[in-house]
Symmetry: C2
Subunit: 409 residues, 2 copies
């Protein structure tokens, strides 16, 4: 008998029919003798509806009051799911974040969990209940309602699993696991049985948005066994287990997957005087405007000037261009070039640490299809390139094949 | 400077536009230097939407979980209204029932308030905040969320006013006060400046559903000055003040108003053997079936049998008839007669205590229009008659005129 935390996302509980479906799935796990704690999100669309109401009142709503409103989405779901479990003949009981209590700091709309009191949950489990805890929310030490920010239900589930020392934290979503790449792009994409936390972090931040990145960090830190499963298939299968890296991994393939992100735009300040402080002079005002910067490259030229390039989210492209044009003028740079028809493609895998030649295989595969690389950035376990957007699917497919990802382990 | 509790019903906060309108009204009271505690209901339709969701899951939802869900309606409104007050440049802060805390018993879906902790509210008032407290809800001593049942926001407001020793509790609604009768039936119906708690109780229970009856009882018990006002008129005026009866009342008219109720049905068991225990034998099974009985009349006949009549809510008519037919058979009564085309009309007024002749004036007025009286029931401050439904409007109008209610005080 194990203690399992199961998290169900918004689409999994998007209608009362789907909530009943989820209840039947939980009932099957309970029938195996497990203790179950369930963390549902709000019904899909509900959080957006609530935030839209708030925006009708105020263009910049008070964060404390926004959390009072937004937290009701999950509160409705826990009640409905608990009822659905009772309809399956099971004992079940719901708790809001404040009731548990999930203690957070007071940074409304993006609070961080400080501590979870497990007493009420333990008591209800001991009484034979399935315990349904609202995701995404908590309360600060003054009893104010807080939310963890978008995707925070994953974090709630992992934090509960850590606090309860659960045997496993299962994240049910609309995919049946983590794939070597997006199956909509590469038909041969293969579900991974396991992936390391580090790889998962790189995959998440690169646009494979199956899990919220904070929850993966949290799971890694507290050594929570995390599993991604489908809530839409009748047989959820084994999903993908996210593991702490260990020696077994030496047997694993070098590359775990190909991640990509379409929402990129590239900006280059051309001919900046090559002096100390240039990077800060350019990126400081961009950061002040709350624009996130991803890849950064600086090439020193031979004429005492440098070209400074970076990528931003495509939504920030126009704003960033305007800021740079003003900076370029002040810095007496030659000009600003922008390109918002680019994308980023990355190969990710802990195996590349011990296997040289990953970069050259990647570049040769892209060259074989005449795909020009515009930027390159590397970390210990990933290599990212920026290419023209029109090559995205082709690049992902050629890399997937070059690294043999379509083959079973 | 006074401390005022203001309650706004569901239609008053039914849209974000109306919430902004309510915020501007509160701002005007605040500008007069008053301390304000606001108790809003859920946006109109919201509680029904939430309960419908629950019923999609379960035909008889768990009351504890139903309260978890239903309480979110008010939680959304307090957040929105607080934001709207902030948009008016005011300091404002929301509290759920559990946060305050409004301590209740554990009778989910119809909890009773036991105690209100006023510390958080006092602290926020002292900081210059308008305090917005969710109506309709509280929490029991284990921290479970409870609701007070339909219309419970009125009770919340009165209980808060009592706990805070507020100078006045203002109930904003879609009418501008309590009328001598329904103005849709009698064009000359006149708004009352004052009405006593006792009269209000009789008016409420008889179908003048402006205030929830429990809140009136509560206000009477704790001597809370209660005022009904319109939230739809730009100038809310003076509304109707609900007072504790005092000697001034000797000057007041004998009758305060004419109440009526269409949702009535009458049942008669004919020719029951006139023996002790008959009433219980008939009404016991009816009560067991959870059918509320209103007026009850028993006429002993000369042949050792009696006719036993009572009224029920029209929705229970068919069920009650079936129960009675089975009872009549067992009791060897002659039969059961039912009539669901009746209504009840009542004259209400504390003045009738000291003024004999009210009944005879009432009966003669009805007789003058050839309206046949089917049942009569009296209390200390009201006389009710059952008449055919088709005579309802005529009866109300003739009584309104007979008692001179169209004249100003």
């Amino acid at each position: 008998m194990a203690l399992i935390v199961q998290k169900f996302g918004g689409t999994s509980v998007g209608t009362t029919e789907r909530i009943k479906h989820v209840a039947r799935r939980i009932a099957r796990w309970k029938a195996l003798g497990h203790d179950i704690v369930v963390v549902p999100s709000a019904m899909s669309g509900e959080t957006n509806r609530l935030i839209a109401l708030a925006r009708e009142i105020s263009a910049s709503p008070d964060p404390r009051e926004l959390d009072v409103i937004a937290s009701t989405g999950e509160q409705v779901t826990i009640g409905l799911l608990t009822m659905a479990l009772q309809e399956e003949g099971l004992k079940a009981r719901s708790y809001t974040g404040a009731q548990v209590q999930v203690l957070t700091d007071s940074i409304f709309t993006k609070a961080r969990i400080l501590r979870i009191d497990d007493r009420k949950i333990r008591k209800s489990l001991a009484e034979g209940c399935i315990v349904v805890v609202a995701g995404f929310q908590g309360a600060d030490s003054d009893g104010n309602i807080t939310t963890l920010g978008r995707g925070g239900s994953d974090t709630s589930a992992v934090a509960l699993a850590a606090a309860l020392k659960a045997d496993e934290c299962q994240i049910y979503t609309d995919v049946d696991g983590i794939y070597t790449t997006d199956p909509r792009v590469v038909a041969e994409a293969r579900k991974l049985d396991t992936i390391t936390f580090e790889e998962m972090l790189e995959m998440s931040s690169l646009g494979s948005k199956v899990l919220q990145i904070r929850s993966v960090e949290f799971a890694g830190k507290y050594k929570v066994k995390l599993r991604v499963l489908s809530s839409f298939q009748d047989d959820e299968g084994e999903g993908t287990l996210i593991t702490i890296e260990d020696t077994e991994k030496m047997e694993e393939p070098i590359i775990s997957g190909i991640a990509f992100n379409r929402d990129e735009a590239k900006l280059t300040v051309v001919g900046v005087p090559d002096l100390p402080g240039t990077a800060y002079g350019i990126l400081g005002p961009v950061a002040e405007a709350n624009i996130d910067v991803d890849m950064i490259i600086q090439n020193a030229g031979r004429d005492g000037t440098a070209d400074f390039s970076f990528t931003v989210n495509r939504a920030d492209f126009t704003r960033a261009t305007r800021i740079l044009e003003s900076i370029a003028n002040q810095m007496k740079a030659r000009g600003v070039i922008g390109d918002n028809k680019i994308c980023k493609v990355s190969v990710v895998g802990v195996g590349m640490r011990s296997h040289p030649g990953v970069a050259s295989l990647m570049f040769s595969a892209l060259a074989s299809e005449n795909i020009n690389i515009r930027m390159i950035s590397t970390s210990e376990i990933k290599i990212s390139v920026v290419v023209e957007e029109k090559y995205l699917e082709l690049a992902v497919r050629v890399l997937h094949k070059a690294f043999g990802l379509e083959q079973a382990d």
